[in-house]
Amino acid sequence: MQHEPHQRLSAVLDQETTAAETAATLDQLLNNPELEARWERYHLIGGVIRGEPVSPDYRLLAQSVAARLATEPLISTLPPPRRWFIPWFEHWMPLAGAAMASVMLLGVMVWHPAVDGLLNQQSLTHPDRMLALATEQPPALDTVDAWPLNEPALESKLHWFVLGHQESASFSGFQGHIPYATLVGYDGQ
């Protein structure tokens, strides 16, 4: 396993680590704000390049871009040919400078029209309200409380239950990445 922190993260994304190594790397990520900031900058830049929606005020993108411009030189040469499963962000490193310059020049974030249209087409209105437990009558969907984000220990246990359940329930072979995307994609903010 590589020793550079960003290479370790790359290995995790590439699935070149065992579960234990992945855990160790993720654990280091949690305890290394600089590493996490670096990791997130890659993703922000990647999102900008692809025109994906990134909230304009989230994580203060302008400051991140400015800091990166100040600390890292632009890369002017293409990387050598790599295997197929190259960490996706490494593909974009040569483009990052141009993208950042574009972002600085425009000074705005552009929401992808197709994604925006997708958002507007949905009518998912389930206001979360507190539930008084009724064990005799099942609650209606819109009366169920949201995931207990204010109780980390309980939340962690429920996450563990969900992941354990999905691993056991993979018999259908149909759902594929859906359950995991539901858990990973959920932003409780």
Binding site: Q15, L26, Q175, I178
Partner: protein, 316 residues
């Protein structure tokens, strides 16, 4: 009519009849190849297991939009996948045949789920039994469309009752991968939606996938090493698996072959779910019974988890 004209007319009729028959046959063959929803779903299940791909997904739920990077590859016959959020707090998951490592915001450490050897016994090599599932789902082809710039076939999987969700799947014509999946309630209203915005697919792998011991989900024998039972199950749900984890947690798995629910039973802990909650379309409900914490969780409607929770009994 002159005899030769009559002959020509007869020959023409024969030719037209044959041509019509051939045309109908070709149309029927094409329909079977592209339009048969069960065949399409079987192709999709196989593609999910055997195709290597990497791409960007958008996940829409409750007015929340997430962008995810997903990668799936086969290495030495083993399936490996990773998911990573591209917006919002860093959230990532790595899954292999050995287990899952997941990092979520607010968690002090990654969540690790080791796959017990017994779990492999239930991993399907053939996918869902769609013919059997038609008892509980109405499965229909809904025509063609385009997703991520690729031609797809739309398949609707609508539940016949309130105990399971439905799906609308857009299956790539070329690779059979699901490029868009909508999770639907009983009224066919979307609850969640996943869609590829960009996808790179590798040629089919030559390394065979490691074959599991069992190929289809079968009803398991009632466990004898437990004093717990679930007395009432939703229609079509059966007990599939029982295990006791190293932490002493008893785990029952129930399902209809597509939808599934887990029941976890453990001695009362400091932290236990009392009531019902949800994470998008994943519902969970819990309560205490005889100094034990019972938690039911699954990607099923709230009514289903409550149905099972109410059916849990402790037999002294």
């Amino acid at each position: 009519m002159q005899p030769w004209l009559a002959m020509m007319a007869s020959d023409r009729l024969i030719v037209e009849t044959i041509a019509f028959a051939c045309g109908v046959t070709l149309l029927l063959d094409a329909g079977a190849a592209l339009g048969d929803p069960l065949s399409q779903l079987e192709r999709m299940g196989q593609a999910l297991r055997t195709r290597e791909y990497e791409g960007t997904l958008v996940h829409l739920r409750d007015h929340q939009l997430s962008a995810l990077r997903i990668a799936h590859r086969i290495e030495n016959g083993e399936s490996r996948a990773s998911l990573l959020t591209l917006n919002g707090p860093l959230r990532t998951l790595a899954r292999s045949e050995r287990g899952i490592a997941c990092l979520l915001p607010g968690q002090q450490r990654p969540i690790l789920v080791d796959r017990a050897p017994a779990a492999n016994l239930r991993r399907s090599a053939t996918g869902a039994d769609w013919s059997a599932l038609e008892r509980h789902y109405q499965i229909q082809a809904k025509g063609s469309s385009r997703v991520a710039g690729r031609e797809v076939e739309l398949i609707s999987i609508q539940p016949r009752d309130e105990f399971r969700y439905g799906y609308r799947v857009s299956i790539d014509d070329e690779t059979a991968l699901p490029l868009q999946i909508e999770l639907l309630n009983q009224d066919a209203e979307p609850l969640e939606q996943l869609m590829f915005t960009e996808l790179q697919v590798q040629p089919l792998v030559t390394t065979p996938i490691a074959a599991p011991s069992a190929t289809t989900p079968v009803a398991a024998e009632p466990p004898t090493a437990t004093t717990w039972t679930v007395t009432t199950l939703p229609p079509g749900f059966r007990h599939h698996r029982y295990q006791r984890t190293a932490q002493g947690i008893e785990h029952f798995l129930f399902g209809d072959g597509l939808a599934s629910v887990s029941v976890y039973i453990e001695p009362v802990q400091e932290f236990g779910l009392q009531g019902a909650t949800r994470l998008g379309a994943i519902h969970a409900a819990g309560r205490q019974i005889d100094a034990h914490q019972v938690t039911v969780v699954g990607e099923v409607p709230a009514v289903t988890v409550m149905h099972l929770l109410n059916g849990v009994q402790h037999n002294d």
